[in-house]
Symmetry: C2
Subunit: 370 residues, 2 copies
Amino acid sequence: MTERQRFSVAIVGATGAVGRELLDVLASRRFPMHSLRLLASARSAGTVIEIDSATAALLDNDGAKQPLVVEELSAKAFDGVDVAFFCASGNISSQWVETATAAGAIVIDNSKAFRMDPNVPLIVPEVNGETLLPAASKTQPRLPRVVANPNCSTIIALLAIAPLHRAVGISRMVVSTYQAASGGGAAMMTELEDQARQFAAGQPLTTNVLDRPYLFNVFSHNSPIGVDGNNEEEAKLIRETHKILSDDSIGISATCVRVPVLRAHCESINLTLKAPLSENEARELLRRAPGVSIVDDRPNNRFPEPVNASGLDDVLIGRIRSDASQPEGLGLNLYVAGDQLRKGAALNAVQIAELIATTSAVQQPSLNPC
Amino acid sequence: MTERQRFSVAIVGATGAVGRELLDVLASRRFPMHSLRLLASARSAGTVIEIDSATAALLDNDGAKQPLVVEELSAKAFDGVDVAFFCASGNISSQWVETATAAGAIVIDNSKAFRMDPNVPLIVPEVNGETLLPAASKTQPRLPRVVANPNCSTIIALLAIAPLHRAVGISRMVVSTYQAASGGGAAMMTELEDQARQFAAGQPLTTNVLDRPYLFNVFSHNSPIGVDGNNEEEAKLIRETHKILSDDSIGISATCVRVPVLRAHCESINLTLKAPLSENEARELLRRAPGVSIVDDRPNNRFPEPVNASGLDDVLIGRIRSDASQPEGLGLNLYVAGDQLRKGAALNAVQIAELIATTSAVQQPSLNPC
């Protein structure tokens, strides 16, 4: 895109954990925007959000830093908006995405609402971003009006497994997650921090967001359980992986667990490959893969950790080990850590928007870049 | 055993996390002892340990509660001791177990030192306790002088998988652990609690025991990595499972991870069975199994959690799910939580001692029960 193509951007759910992270990512990546509208529910409308100088510099106010005031979601809220990031619940997306697209916006939706819609692309740019490019689709000559941002656990796992799948094929994956509070929103992060303070003060732990203690505890992901016994997080990880890799034949068993960590997920991944791959071949493939960094220092016991992954764009990959419990070369273990708010949500959404911005310059002048 | 058969007991490492738990377990199970000697390194010798009235009631001091003074390990320390529990490091066991057995004691060793010795039984009473009984061994007519207590993660996993292995056979297991601080000793537990206090006070976190933050973090188990890429905890889980189940053919992939939890381990276990077992059949088998409780309430999202497993004797089992990524009936997921200090260490050791006490009454009057 050229310097002059800039967009009007809206963030729905601007006061949430992902919404606030999105503000940071847009600024740090200098997303080409000339205006920014922050939207939220009536409860949060009126909230004043200070923007940093990097964000202010992008906007049409001569770079002067100024606070933005959160507006209430409404039928008129998307007038003139080119790109709307939805960072609220699936219910909010179901209710408002059509309003946004009718007003002419392209929506990048971070909720589950549209992910499995066959007409909505589900995108991890490093993995299947090319499906958004004009040349990729003959049957879909125009840009989609809605692009779905996958579930955080799915994105983080896929950065690690997609390069291996591309190289030799994955027939089965067994994954156990170590998921952070941020996936449950800012309130869950606050509850965890509050409980540490309460422990220190010798007080009983308050449990407002969760109905169990979180500090010094670990629990099965707090989402409804389906008839197959999988919780919703596990079901997402399975079906979204199939959709993004365009391969329903991959057998996936997922166990999703929350750990008392603030904002980075870890995942222990055991793979069955279709063709042999040595440990070193796997490591080399991953070293060349986009969006990941290898942290696999056996002598010093240094592997991916939430404290190190937090705030990073890259997903960290380590514990790259051949699995001797499978036929030689066909079993491989990986352990990953990725910032749930960043690559797991806000960064991936902005990367999708960047792809769209590039594509729209070629294809869709009706987006009205100014 | 009868009322009159009581033993002289010693605890090596009495001031550590497992040693202190052992005191509790001996008392709560009314282990038949008439004297109790607490042993430790020179550094801890002289420590006064208050014993509760339940423990005092067992001893030959007319039930009067009194503190016990920790003595230094020495060549004479085991004189007159019938049963010595070793709850210190592998180095201490390597150095002192022979002294104890030479003095006539039977040793129950909680360290790794003798676990893989082919002449030393490695026992989880509910799983292979019968191998200690006289009838079990024609080639070993006398009681062993040393019995090894397995690694905590191994014990906790085996309580859940042994009944299934017995029923249909397990051909492969993929396990990812969520391990508590207690496995690293009392100092690691204290460091985690201290870090919560430091966080609350806005202070930097001190890292004396570990060389990384523990609060709000998760990290690969802090043990040396072997040439196959497995850390020592993973290697223990694999080889000890093989030994206890007397079956080296089970393929095992283990990933051992520490989470900021105080004293109960969780494990996410994916099994490949040799013959089909439905979810309900598996649940029924486990419901009838000793030493475990089923916590598998899908509607209310209640599954095994460290906060609920802590202080319990039973290992909690939940998330019992058929695994659709494997041929029908051959794949099964389990999720377990067990108190690392209790069933993972002290309780299992005392259960071994109880077996020995029963057996010795029949077989080995030289044990000098009084």
